[in-house]
């Protein structure tokens, strides 16, 4: 597409403004995590690593980080298994109610977190009679993590040649051998991308988590919320924020690369 110079200029300015609005605050948080002023004076009077040392030395914080990573991994694994099975079922077999189920799988991503959280909270406690715990958080996160895996795998399966699976069976392979040797390599990168996205989604989730976490379960986002307005904690929270961004962005970056590599 060719655009005039003035249009290009206007577009450039608008894009820059949007990027600045998104990334400038992040940069400020990053800089503040090295700010040696207790009150976050701006511009920073000096440089310090104190907050980073403090953050990584804090037992509560490290425990919260561990909890978040564990929940994100478990939710991603659950999502990978169920999301893949759902995508396979919905793309490879015809059955009654197929389209409705397809819609129901992706709906959780559109539901407001607060509704999902409330609904799951009710279901766990009153209907199922479960104690809120880490397991309930994992189940809750899995409900929306499934969507990313399902979408990625479904897109790949619909592009992959169905005859490949028939050809494999034709050559003597049973159902599981075909899945392992043919289907899995076809959807492998979609699984990696979906899994990484699921991890990122779960890792920084807070609303659903608040409704479904047991009293002893503190994830990193909840820790941040609890500590943000405590006196003297703001710089440490900045450190955590930077760490959280890194942990969420790295998987996103790889997910993107994987999707692109296999798309070509």
């Amino acid at each position: 597409m060719r655009i005039s110079r003035s249009a290009a200029l206007v577009l450039g300015v608008i894009s820059s403004a949007v990027m600045a609005a998104v990334y400038l605050p992040l940069v400020i948080v990053l800089i503040n995590s090295f700010n040696n002023s207790m009150n976050m004076d701006w511009p920073p009077p000096g440089f310090t690593l104190d907050w980073w040392v403090k953050a990584f030395g804090s037992g509560g914080l490290m425990a919260a980080l561990g909890t978040s990573v564990l929940i994100a991994i478990c939710a991603s694994v659950v999502a990978l298994i169920l999301g893949t099975l759902l995508a396979l079922a919905l793309s490879r077999y015809k059955f009654f109610g197929q389209e409705s189920i397809g819609l129901m799988v992706i709906l959780p991503i559109a539901l407001p977190g607060i509704v999902t959280g409330l609904a799951l909270n009710n279901a766990f406690r009153t209907v199922l009679g479960m104690q809120l715990s880490m397991a309930t958080v994992i189940i809750a996160h899995a409900t929306f993590c499934i969507v990313t895996v399902y979408n990625n795998v479904l897109a790949r399966l619909s592009r992959a040649n169905r005859n490949l699976e028939d050809a494999s069976a034709d050559l003597g392979a049973g159902v599981f051998t075909t899945f392992r040797l043919i289907t899995l390599p076809q959807i492998g990168s979609a699984l990696v991308a979906g899994g990484l996205l699921a991890f990122a989604l779960s890792f920084d989730e807070i609303i659903v988590t608040t409704f479904t976490a047991g009293s002893g379960v503190e994830t990193l986002p909840i820790w941040i919320l609890n500590n943000m307005f405590r006196p003297g904690k703001a710089p440490v929270v900045d450190v955590v924020a930077v760490t959280t961004v890194l942990i969420s962005v790295v998987p996103l970056y790889f997910a993107q690369r994987f999707t692109r590599e296999t798309a070509k």
């Binding site: 490949l164 028939d166 050809a167 494999s168 069976a169 034709d170 050559l171 003597g172 040797l181």
Partner: protein
């Protein structure tokens, strides 16, 4: 019988893709299924291979009822229309696949796969990925992959459909030689009548999920049973009962082949509407009374050159060449 199909139907929803089919294919036969696109050929092939289950009827292979058996429990292999090579495996791994899932040892399966690749003249391409091959080469890999497991029956779904004419002709010869060499049953799907006539021992003509006629290429050409077969196999002059009555005194639908019509000194007068030069022969479109007739004359016939557009010729059709149609 290598393949027995009895009363087989296949419905997709309300649509009947295959309608009460009966078919017997002998072992070692080169059998073709010929018909227009959408006539149910691929569906029948998929039913034989076991990818789909029939709505009704039974399928037996070598006397054993396999109607409800999975593809991996049938001694049949398929060459797919789009080849269906595994894109993440290289050529030799593709060919080895059937041996690998049968737990044949690494050394042996490599040797057998190489031998199969040699049969299709592709041994030099063993390490390439399917994406790095031409259409004709992919087709050969698909062939090697299917024959390496030594099936008794090979199903081929328009295997030459995607190739250009020259390559197609040379592959036809190779396929025929391969089939003789292996001595196994080939079930060959095509919509190309020349291909079917060239290769087959017998041909089934498909039309709308049914078989119109089964016969040798010779039988189908000389004695087509229906107008559909007459028109689909070769070129035909089909006359309605009224036209036949007028021309021959036969009150039935009939057919005659263009090369059986003689142009010359005797017979009924006709006007030349068009003449088409075909290399070895010349085709004339004639108007005989109210009937359009196609005649084909050898190009070496000296007189043929004198039959110009709008000139008058004498047409001689022998009643013994006339075929009555259903």
């Amino acid at each position: 019988m290598a393949i027995s199909i009895r009363g087989v139907s296949k419905k997709f929803g309300d649509f009947t893709a295959v309608d009460q089919l009966n078919l017997e294919i002998g072992s070692g036969e080169f059998f073709s299924m010929l018909g227009p696109s959408g006539s149910g050929k691929t569906t029948v092939l998929r039913l034989i291979a076991g990818f789909d289950l029939p709505t009704a009827g039974t399928i037996s292979l070598d006397g054993e009822d396999v109607t409800n058996k999975a593809p991996f429990d049938r001694n049949v292999n398929t060459v797919f229309q789009d080849y269906a090579l595994f894109p993440h495996l290289n050529v030799i791994e593709n060919v080895e696949y059937g041996l690998r899932v049968r737990k044949v040892g690494r050394e042996e399966r490599r040797a057998r796969a190489l031998a199969a690749l040699e049969k299709v003249h592709l041994a030099d391409f063993a390490e390439r990925k399917p994406a790095q091959l031409s259409g004709g080469q992919r087709q050969r890999v698909a062939l090697a992959r299917a024959i390496v497991v030594e099936p008794k029956i090979l199903l081929l779904d328009e295997p030459l459909g995607a190739l250009d004419l020259k390559l197609r002709e040379s592959m036809q010869i190779e396929l025929k030689e391969l089939q003789r060499d292996l001595g196994i049953t080939f079930v060959f799907v095509t919509h190309d009548q020349d291909e079917a006539l060239t290769l087959s021992d017998r041909i089934a003509i498909f039309n709308q999920g049914k078989i119109e006629q089964i016969g040798t290429p010779h039988e189908l050409y000389e004695k087509p049973a229906t107008e559909f077969v007459a028109r689909f196999v070769g070129t035909a002059n089909v006359f309605t009962a009224a036209q036949s009555q007028n021309l021959f005194g036969v009150n039935k639908k009939t057919m005659i082949r263009p090369e059986q019509i003689e142009l010359g000194a005797t017979g009924q007068e006709a006007t030349v509407m068009e003449s088409i030069y075909l290399g070895s022969s010349i085709r004339f479109i004639l108007k005989l009374a109210d009937t359009q007739v196609i005649a084909e004359v050898s190009a070496s016939d000296e007189n043929a050159k004198t039959y110009r557009r709008n000139s008058t010729v004498k047409v001689n059709m022998s009643k013994t060449d006339l075929v009555e149609l259903d």
